[in-house]
Each structure stands twice: as structure tokens, then as C-alpha cells.
């Protein structure tokens, strides 16, 4: 049973009698009370969700009505002059997430392949534990290692090297006006993010690949296919909705990641990053870094509105991921 908290509905289903077996003839307070407490606690989760949504909307209302669509379409974020353009934050969020996914998804798939098809059981266990440990490392630790180790490396070694090669003149990499050396940059943030979301995508991919029936894979090998051919032509096709679900889960995590990114993305709120090597900001890190200094009513509301936007996007991705993953379960159960 997968133990990583990936928000996954992959447990064994089983019918469970809903009726409680209270013995006849005696007044039993225990069972109704028990059921009541359990139900209440179960519903608390739902209430929490609705409460969260309601509070976010309420608190951001002044900004929603006062600023309108301007917040999401203009670039400059400088509350001191009354400007609340969050486009830089939106762009930075999208770009850093994109970088993270480009790195993490292929890596996750090959690691999942290894875990499912290739590795010796002991190797599989070690690898599995390592991935799980990676998931357990708090984001502030990634932030610190990112800031004190990766950023200097990028600033002093990697980025100057890239810029000295033809790679440095490619459109996505050519430094823009806000370039500060490439250490604190969208790219660095994306790279660190990649390893933070990797374990989640790996775990979910591994789980869905394990759902491919053994007999179907044997039929593939029986036709004279290599391991890669079986994986590519059969397993990935069988599990493809699950892989999509895994990617969406990774996306959701990357979008909402705060502390590591806050450390290393550079916190430039007033202009769009023109290249991956430019510093930028994300919604989450913008909120983290400026919320406590916001005294103005509208400033706070604007930040909460940004939080609401982030919340809605991540929730949308979560729902989509759950829907795709449910499709795999139906496929696995429903095949003849």
C-alpha cells in the first residue's frame, strides 16, 4: 500500500455493513454517540473546505470589486504607489512550474519503470525509501540548501558557462533586463521544485503502473517484446490516464510550493522575467514575503485575492487529477 501522501484514492474497496449491531432490549447510548462523533468529525473536513473558500472570498472581496481584472493583467506590483498588477507573479508561477515538470516527469517515469519492472527487490526497497525520504524533507530545508548551495553554484559556475556557449543566446535563456547573474532565478527555483515534486509523481506513477495486469504484460513479452516495448506499447497505454493524473498532482504541488521558492526566486515584483535566468516571483512567494508588511486594507485584500486565485487553480488541478485517477481504477476493475 502506498504510503506517500499523494492524495490518492487507491485503497481496497470493500462492502461494509452500515448498520450497527446494537443488541436488542437495552438502551445503548454508546453506539449512536460513537456514530455521531465519527460523522461530525468526518463532516468537519467538508466544513473546513467550505469555510476556507468562503473566508478567502470574503477577505478578498474589496480587491475583487475594487481592482477588477486589472490585477491579473498588469505587471507592476508596487502597493506603495497603489499598483497591484500580479502578472509577474502569475508568469513566474507558470514558468517555474513548467521547468519543474519538464525535469520531474521523465525522471519520475523512468524511476517508476525501474521500481515496477527492473529492480531487484532490495534495490527497489532502498530506492523506494530514498524517494519517500525526499518527499518528507520539509520545504524550508530545500530552501536553505537551495539558497546557500545551489544558488551560488548557478551564479558562479553554471550560468556563466551556459552563457558562454551557444545555449546562452537561445530565446528562453538569453538574459533579460532584470538579469542578476542567474543564481536567484526562475530556473534555479524550477530545478529545486522539480526534486520536491518528483517523489509524488513517482509514487503515483508507480502505483498505476502496478495496476497493469501481469497476464497482459506476459502476453506482451510472449510476443517477443523487450522490456521497453512492453512498457511503452502496453503498460503506459494501459495506465495513461493514471500517468496524467500523476502529472496533475505534481503540477498542483509545484504551483503551491512556497518556502523553497521564496528563498531562491529573487523576488522581483515589478517586471516579467524575460528568460529563465531572470529573477521573478510566484504567487505563493509574493504572499509569503509581503503579507506581514501589508497594512493597507486593499493591500491585504489583494494578497488574499491572489491566494484565492492560487487556491482555485490548485483545486482545479486536484479535481482533474482525481478524475483521471478514478478512470484508471475503473479500467483496472472493468477489464474482462
Amino acid at each position: 500500500m502506498s504510503t506517500i501522501e499523494s492524495g490518492l484514492v487507491l485503497g481496497p474497496e470493500g462492502p461494509r455493513g452500515a448498520a450497527s449491531a446494537a443488541p436488542r432490549g437495552r438502551l445503548r447510548l454508546g453506539d449512536p454517540l460513537f456514530r455521531g462523533i465519527a460523522t461530525l468529525c468526518g463532516l468537519t473536513v467538508a466544513f473546513a473546505m467550505f469555510g476556507l473558500t468562503a473566508v478567502l472570498v470574503y477577505s478578498s472581496w474589496p480587491a475583487i470589486t475594487g481592482l477588477g481584472a486589472e490585477m491579473l493583467t498588469t505587471v507592476e506590483w508596487s502597493p506603495s504607489s497603489g499598483k497591484y498588477g500580479a502578472l509577474a507573479a502569475l508568469a513566474g508561477t507558470a514558468l517555474s512550474t513548467l521547468v519543474a515538470m519538464v525535469i520531474a516527469v521523465p525522471l519520475a517515469l523512468v524511476i517508476a519503470l525501474l521500481l515496477v519492472e527492473l529492480a531487484h527487490p532490495t534495490v527497489g526497497k532502498v530506492l523506494g525509501m530514498a524517494i519517500e525520504m525526499l518527499a518528507a524533507i520539509p520545504s524550508i530545508i530545500f530552501g536553505m540548501v537551495g539558497l546557500f548551495v545551489i544558488v551560488p553554484f548557478m551564479q558562479e559556475k553554471l550560468v556563466p558557462w551556459v552563457l558562454s556557449t551557444p545555449l546562452g543566446s537561445l530565446p528562453g535563456l538569453r538574459p533579460g533586463p532584470s538579469f542578476q547573474g542567474g543564481g536567484l532565478s526562475v530556473l534555479t527555483a524550477g530545478v529545486v521544485l522539480a526534486f520536491m515534486v518528483l517523489p509524488y509523481i513517482t509514487a503515483v506513477s508507480r502505483d498505476v503502473l502496478r495496476m497493469v495486469p501481469q497476464v497482459t504484460k506476459e502476453a506482451g513479452y510472449g510476443m517477443g517484446s523487450t522490456t521497453w516495448e512492453v512498457m511503452r506499447r502496453i503498460s503506459l497505454r494501459y495506465a495513461n490516464s493514471g500517468i496524467v493524473g500523476a502529472v496533475f498532482i505534481g503540477l498542483g504541488r509545484a504551483l503551491g510550493e512556497t518556502m523553497a521558492v521564496a528563498f531562491i526566486i529573487g523576488s522581483v515584483y515589478t517586471s516579467l522575467p524575460r528568460s529563465l535566468l531572470d529573477p521573478g516571483t510566484t504567487i505563493a512567494s509574493l504572499i509569503a514575503n509581503t503579507f506581514n508588511e501589508a497594512t493597507d486594507e486593499i493591500h491585504v485584500a489583494a494578497l488574499v485575492e491572489l491566494g484565492l486565485v492560487l487556491f482555485l487553480i490548485t483545486m482545479a488541478f486536484q479535481f482533474v487529477a482525481q478524475a483521471w485517477l478514478r478512470r484508471v481504477q475503473r479500467t483496472a476493475g472493468g477489464r474482462a
Binding site: 454508546g30 473536513v45 473546513a48 525522471l107
Partner: protein
Amino acid sequence: MNDLAHPSLTTASLRHRSVARRKAADLTVKVLAWVGASFGIAVMAFVVYEVVVRGIGAIDLAFFTQPTPQDVTSTEGGLANAIVGTLVITGVAAAIGIPTGFFGGIYLAEFGRNGRVATAVRMIANVVMGVPSIIVGVFAFAILVKPVGHYSGFAGSVALAFIMLPVMARTTEDVLNLVPNELRESGLAMGAPRWKVTLGVVCRAARGGLITGASLAVVRVAGETAPLLFTALSSPYWMSGLFGPGGYFGGPVANLTKTIYDLAATPYPQWQDLAWGGAFIIIVAVLGMNLLVRLIFQRGKEW
């Protein structure tokens, strides 16, 4: 029946695809898989290594006895107040979140099962687990900080409990689902009331998984920073009592993660060292707990 008398299409005449090329592609992917996996392990090892190497030097008696330094010129200072603060904040969060999540998980596993409400709750729990923790912090700010006008450790605990709740519920549900129905049935068949069977028999059978789930949930929120940014904030002082400006309910409370964040952002090396020390403590606690529960309770479980 089909006429098989025409073996017209044999494969003898066909051009073969190169077996060597197919095998080469297969080998390449296998090599890439091993490289990728090694890379993943290397990154994890690297992160742990850096934290250990940079942080262990800051660990001494003073680290555990002295509060956060405020004077740049002195070499004194530790993170004792922050550690205590984290313990208190996380402890209260666990007191709120673990039982609620536990009973919520019981609801999902024992009562709701396939009903519409339970399915909805389950889905919502999955979704809530994906809420960015900073949003949870904003939420707790809006309901517990803004109305009273000051930060508090309690607000931080509530934010952490919010995060713990769905995690604990889903973990509990998963673990209880693994307990075979026969166990429930035999308990009920003896005339025991539902609550006794669930708590005494089923949870007993699943206690390893439950303890694991609870421990991991606690340790996970202990390492969170974002939810505390606008709730408990942080403080260089010891937490003093319950109410009043330095108290748990009355004002900001020192905690490890926010303090690390603050110290790391300063330009002073000795404070950065303290931050690394804090990071070291966190890594030891988080990874140590993970390893511990897995070794004790999940020996032999495949990954």
C-alpha cells in the same frame, strides 16, 4: 469454418526489423532508468549531507538552552525558545487534529463506506490535502488573527491542525480498510456494541498503521513554515504563559521553522550557522521519525 488451405501469407518473405536496434533501445532505456534513479537518490543524499555538514557544528549545549540571539555582536544564543515553541504549537495542533482526523477516518471506513456523503467527504479530503499550506495560513490569519488584532501561537496550531486533519482521516481510513471484515463480524457476533468492536478490535488490529499515520502527520506539520508565517509569526523570546503579549494565545510564539527562515535571511554568518543548526534538528526529527516508524511497523512491507 474458415478455409485454412491457403497458407498464402507466410512471413518468410518479410523484412525483419533490426533486433539489434530494438535491443539497443531497450538497453538505453534501462541505463537511463538506473541513471535517473541514482540521480534521485543522489539528490536526496546531497540535501541531507549538506544539512548535516553545515548544521551539526552549531549544535551544542547553548543551542538547546539559550533563546534566539538579538545582538549581532555577541556570540551567544541558541534556538531553545524556538524548539519549545514548535513543540507546544505542534502539540496543540496534534491534540486538535489527530483525534478529529482519527474519528473522521472511522466515519469514512466504518460508517459511510460507499454512501454519497462519505464519497464526497473522501474526495474533499483528498482535495484539501492539496491546498497549498500558505493558503491555510492566510485562512487562519483571517479567522483568528485579524479579528483579535494580534498574532498567536494558537492560530498557528489551528492552521497546522487544518493541514493534519484530512491527512489523518485518509490514513486512518486506508489503514482500517486493510483490516479484514471477518474481524468486525466476529466481534459483533459476540454481541459487543459497534463502538467497542471498532475501537477495541479493529483499531487494535490496525494500531501499527494508525501510530505510523499519526506520527508521520505530526512530524510533517512540525516541519511546515508557511502556515506559521501569518499566525504564530515568531519571536526571539521564550513563550510566557497563556495570555498576555508573550503568551500562547496572546502574541507571536517562537518556532523553529520561522526562526530558521528569519536567521537564514540575515547577512550574519553566526546567525546563518544557527539556522543550519535548526535545519539539522528538523532533518533529524523528520527523517528519523520516518525511518523509525517504517522499521518498527512496516518491516517486510514492499515499496
